[in-house]
């Protein structure tokens, strides 16, 4: 048994490969080995939500997964949210409704909101607040974020 593992996974639609220690966290693999620094490292124990990415189309904390566990899986990070040079409706709405200030929590906030809306396309404000309690924001007070997710939900419904 070696301490090194070869990893081959899909990130934002591209097949990526790397080799790292088995104890390396997924978030560090994304940032250091794949150069995808949009995913932020916050608390490193699954409380702040800044490192949230989509793993097989579900939101997950990338500080609570080992890189080796992502072998063969399909990931979406913040770098993959834009399509054809256009912001995702969630990104548009965060811009429009002041859903961020410093931006540190924003990648985790957006990918958590993405899972929230895919599971529940018509959430109430209370459901949005409960879903987003998964990610800590110390700047905005959440008002703009909640408005942004409400707006994005409406926009995503109309384009469906």
């Amino acid at each position: 048994m070696t301490d090194l593992a070869s990893i081959r996974l899909t990130v934002n639609g591209q097949v990526r490969e790397g080799r790292c220690e088995t104890r390396k966290l997924l978030v560090d693999f994304l940032r250091e080995d794949l150069g995808l620094t949009g995913t932020h490292v916050g608390c490193e124990h699954g409380v702040c939500g800044a490192c949230t990415v989509m793993v097989n189309r579900e939101a997950a904390r990338s500080c609570l997964m080992l890189a080796v566990q992502a072998n063969g899986l399909d990931l979406l990070t913040i770098e993959g949210l834009m399509k054809d040079g256009r912001l995702h409706p969630l990104q548009e709405a965060f811009h429009e409704h002041h859903g961020l200030q410093c931006g540190f929590c924003t990648p985790g906030m957006l990918l958590t909101a993405l899972d929230l809306l895919q599971a529940n396309p018509r959430p109430t404000e209370a459901e949005i607040r409960q879903g987003l309690s998964a990610v800590l924001c110390r700047c905005t007070g959440y008002q703009g974020i909640v408005k942004a997710v409400e707006a994005a939900a409406a926009s995503l419904r109309s384009t469906r």
Binding site: M1, E44, H45, A59, R61, C63, L64, M65, Q130, S133
Partner: protein, 289 residues
């Protein structure tokens, strides 16, 4: 903070996993959803010599209903339980409690077996195991055995599972048709561990209460059934007066600790308040209302 060095294994079968557990003799940890173990390893509060990752054992994730029993593979994710029609129909108390387990991105990874085997006394699933008379199936080199909540939980983060045994399945009898139920918990932030949680279930025949369940989370080293409080309801029914009496009795039956989150007296008071709320909501739901 990053995990200390360990040897990583990702067995493809339960037999292989049990073989590895036996080989490491207590020095290995099983990795299920990782939502509790990984934080402990990132802080180096846990430094296992080896990690046995169960995520490659596809046969450990299922929800099956047969013969009045609902069986969950240990690696069934909480998010799958949250959306399962079988769970909503047969185990609505489990469905309700699941929405309170951590946050959305915790439940996508977290598993029923991992949560129960981790035995955090403030977690929801251990309390549900006790409230719904569930059993866990443990597999070891000498075969399988079944344990009820009272036999499994041995205190804070401690179970009676042997070092070479792994939890492979969780079974619940379907809740009786028309049973009333509720899970109430109090915490500072939605999704955090409960300072106190109460699982309640009521079964009725006409105005008579034929069975009551009141189980705590977060007020002692393991989930506790408050039998003396349940008896008040089974004797007196579910009038407001009976529910108030059961709630007051519940507060006298617990032995909470003081910690950074709350004092013992505060937890005792919460036990009374939440027991009352849970029983009132459960009573209002009787008969599928």
């Amino acid at each position: 903070m990053k995990p200390a060095r360990f040897v990583y294994h990702a067995p493809a079968t339960i037999e292989e996993a049990v073989g590895l557990l036996t080989r490491y003799g207590g020095e290995a940890k099983l990795l299920a959803g990782g939502q509790s173990l990984m934080p402990l390893m990132n802080f180096r509060l846990a430094r296992p010599a080896a990690l046995i990752d169960l995520n490659a054992i596809a046969s450990l994730a299922y929800i099956r209903e047969d013969d009045g029993q609902i069986r969950f593979g240990a690696m069934t994710r909480q998010r799958a339980i949250e959306f399962s029609p079988v769970v909503r129909r047969r185990l609505p108390l489990l469905a309700e409690a699941t929405t309170l387990v951590g946050h959305l991105p915790i439940r996508t990874r977290g598993t029923i077996g991992g949560s129960i085997a981790h035995a955090d006394p403030s977690a929801e699933y251990p309390a549900i195991l006790a409230a719904l008379d569930g059993v866990v199936v443990a597999r070891g080199p000498r075969g399988e055995r079944m344990l009820r909540a009272a036999e499994l939980f041995r205190g804070y983060l401690a179970t009676s599972l042997a070092p070479d045994e792994m939890l492979v399945e969780v079974r619940f009898p379907a809740m009786p048709d028309g049973a009333g139920y509720a899970f109430e918990e109090f915490n500072r932030r939605s999704g955090d561990f409960a300072i106190v949680g109460i699982a309640a279930m009521l079964v009725a025949e006409g105005q008579r209460c034929t069975a009551a369940r009141v189980v705590t989370a977060g007020v002692g080293p393991a989930p506790a059934r408050l039998r003396r409080a349940e008896e008040i309801l089974e004797r007196e029914g579910f009038s407001d007066a009976a529910i108030d009496a059961a709630a007051r009795r519940a507060a006298t039956l617990v032995e909470p600790d003081t910690d950074i989150h709350a004092s013992a007296a505060y937890r005792r008071n919460l036990t009374r308040v939440l027991t009352g709320r849970a029983l009132r909501r459960a009573a209002a739901r009787l008969g599928g209302r």
